[in-house]
Each structure stands twice: as structure tokens, then as C-alpha cells.
Symmetry: C2
Subunit: 198 residues, 2 copies
């Protein structure tokens, strides 16, 4: 028995292993070279040397290829915020969470840069990722409520979580257009703008 | 000659006047009572006593009925920010822009409350409105760049514009669920959380 969410079992005549991150990176490069609209799922399957059905099991749609790498980042952010002691200053915890969640392999950094550049030019793709954004938001709401000693549903907590989450996303979009280095420092600087106020 | 964007001309046998705001409010009430998915454009046309084609000219899709009332608010925000003198403190200008843009007739306030409540339960609708959100963002970017004496494309300007815009939207979602009064004071308080920092 396999659960419906488990990776597909090996089959005779199919490639033995599918590395979803490699497939996503390959797709993101192709989108850059040939255009997002112009590239089909069939093109991606052919390039990756896998069957069309296999591709669709990992990535049910083209936007999934764009958003695919976001979940691990959100997971690392959660891990840092959950584990933080109450005596570490709030700004330091948030900066560490951004830095650790955005410490990427060269391939993941390239994929993140291409992903954000694509979202910058195709805003509809942002809407597709609202579920991932909502997960990140929930993590920030929980953390801020604990640290500010407030109800998670308090206006202040809700608003600051959205402002910080939005600053992170905004910083990644900016980074993809402007900065050749890793994304962590840019996101930390952006977060600090919000935490410092105007 | 009429421009393609002008309201449709009167026609024999059709209702003389269509008030888009009334139609949108009527639709938002209907969505609340019968469910967003369960309500069809035909239901709305029938309720409004207008033809199906007329309805589609004003509102090309169901999400347009939800987002329809947002543009005037964005327009009023722009007017205040554009007209502000350089000697008025930044926080006061932003608070005044929020207050004036959100000074609503009772009908518009009801529509805004229902609109935000619906977005809270149907996040995909938020994505639909990214164009309106982007317009508001552009206004904030221009204003902040002027006031902070920075390039509109500077990280700080981009990030703060997104954080403030996100705080406004977040506050409206909160207000629709929690507050019986007008939305302005809640949005001003939210904006101030961000401007003050943590």
C-alpha cells in the first residue's frame, strides 16, 4: 500500500529517479529562454527525459513548477522560529530565521532567482502561491503572538505578520533583479526596515 | 462617438440606469446568503433586473463583482498623497490618506465589509485583485520615494511600500471580522504599527 501523496513507485521502462528540484530548475531555465507562456508541460517532460504522466504527478500544473521550491524554505523558517528561546531578541530571531531558511545550494539559489524574476513579470503566478504564503503567515502569526504576549488574532499581530511576510517577499523580488549574492542578507535588511519603523 | 470604456448607451427595452455600486452590493449580499460558488451571474442579473449582457459589460466576471468597489478608494488615496505638502509629517499624510480614502457611504461601507469577509474565506479572490493592489503599490512607492529622498527602486522604498500596503489590506480583513465601526481608524492604527516598528 502506498499513500496517495507518496512518490510514484518505480515502473519498468521509466527513469529510475526523478529529482523534483532538478526538474523545476530545468523548467525555470526553459521559461527564461523561451518564455513562460510558450513553454508547454510536454516540453518540460521531454527536456527532463521523463514521461508526461510522471511530470504531472510531481507538478500538477505549470505554476507548480514555479512555486515548487518554496516549501522547504518555509519549513526551515518554521524550525528556527519554533526553536528560538524567549531571551533572544525578536529581531535577532527573525534575522536568523531568514538567514537559515535562505541558505541555499547554488542550484537552489539559481532556481530562487529565476522563480522570483518570473513572478515579477507574471504577477498572476503570485496569486497561485497564496497557499504557501498563507503557511508562512501562520508561522509568523504564531511566533509574534508568543513573543509580543498577544492574542494571535489581535490586530497588531495580524498586521505585523503580514507586513514582515510582505517585506520578505518584496525583498526576494528586489534581490532577483538587483543582487548577485545570496538572498539572505537582502531579506534580513528588508525585515529590519519594517522592524525599525519609519 | 463613445470610447470603448464609456458606459453602454441606453437602449430601448433595457433599464434606463445601471448603478454599478448597487449591483455589486446586491451581489455581495447574495454571495453571503447563498454562497459565492452557488451564485451565478444569471442570478445576479435577475436580482438586479438587468439583462445578462448588460451585467457582463459592467462586470466581466464574478470576481469583478467582488473587487468592483476598490478603485475609487485607491483613487482617493492617490489624490491625498499627491497633494500633500512636504512639511506635513509622513505618518500624518499616510493616516490622512487612509482616513479620507476610507470615508464611505453606509452602502459602500457595507459592501467593503462583505467584500473583505469574502476575501478572507476565498483567498483565490485576493489573487484576482493583484492589479488593483499593484496600482495602490505604485502610488505608495512614488510617495515614499519622494518623502524619503530615495530612488523609487531602492530596496527600502520597495519594501516599505509593500509592508504598508500589506498592513492596510490586513487591517481591512481584520476589521471585516471584528469591528462594527468605519474602517478608517483600524487601518490608521495598523499603518502606525508598521511605521512605528517593533
Amino acid at each position: 500500500m502506498t499513500s496517495p501523496d507518496a512518490p510514484p513507485p518505480r515502473r519498468r521502462g521509466r527513469p529510475a529517479d526523478v529529482d523534483p528540484e532538478s526538474v523545476a530548475l530545468l523548467a525555470l531555465r526553459r521559461f527564461d529562454e523561451h518564455g513562460y507562456e510558450q513553454t508547454t508541460m510536454d516540453d518540460i517532460a521531454r527536456l527532463a527525459g521523463i514521461g508526461r504522466r510522471t511530470l504531472f504527478r510531481y507538478f500538477p500544473s505549470k505554476p507548480d513548477l514555479v512555486w515548487g521550491g518554496v516549501e522547504p524554505v518555509v519549513g526551515r523558517m518554521r524550525a528556527v522560529l519554533d526553536a528560538a528561546g524567549d531571551d533572544e531578541p525578536l529581531r535577532e530571531v527573525l534575522a536568523r530565521a531568514a538567514t537559515e531558511s535562505l541558505t541555499l545550494t547554488p542550484e537552489a539559489e539559481e532556481a530562487t532567482r529565476r522563480r522570483m524574476a518570473l513572478m515579477g513579470t507574471h504577477p498572476a503566478l503570485v496569486g497561485f502561491g497564496l497557499t504557501a504564503i498563507a503557511a508562512n503567515r501562520g508561522i509568523l502569526v504564531g511566533f509574534l503572538a508568543r513573543r509580543l504576549g498577544a492574542d494571535p488574532d489581535a490586530l497588531r499581530v495580524q498586521v505585523l505578520a503580514d507586513a514582515i511576510g510582505s517585506a520578505d517577499f518584496s525583498a526576494l523580488l528586489w534581490w532577483a533583479r538587483h543582487d548577485d549574492g545570496p538572498p539572505g542578507p537582502v531579506v534580513v535588511a528588508a525585515m529590519d526596515e519594517v522592524l525599525r519603523g519609519v
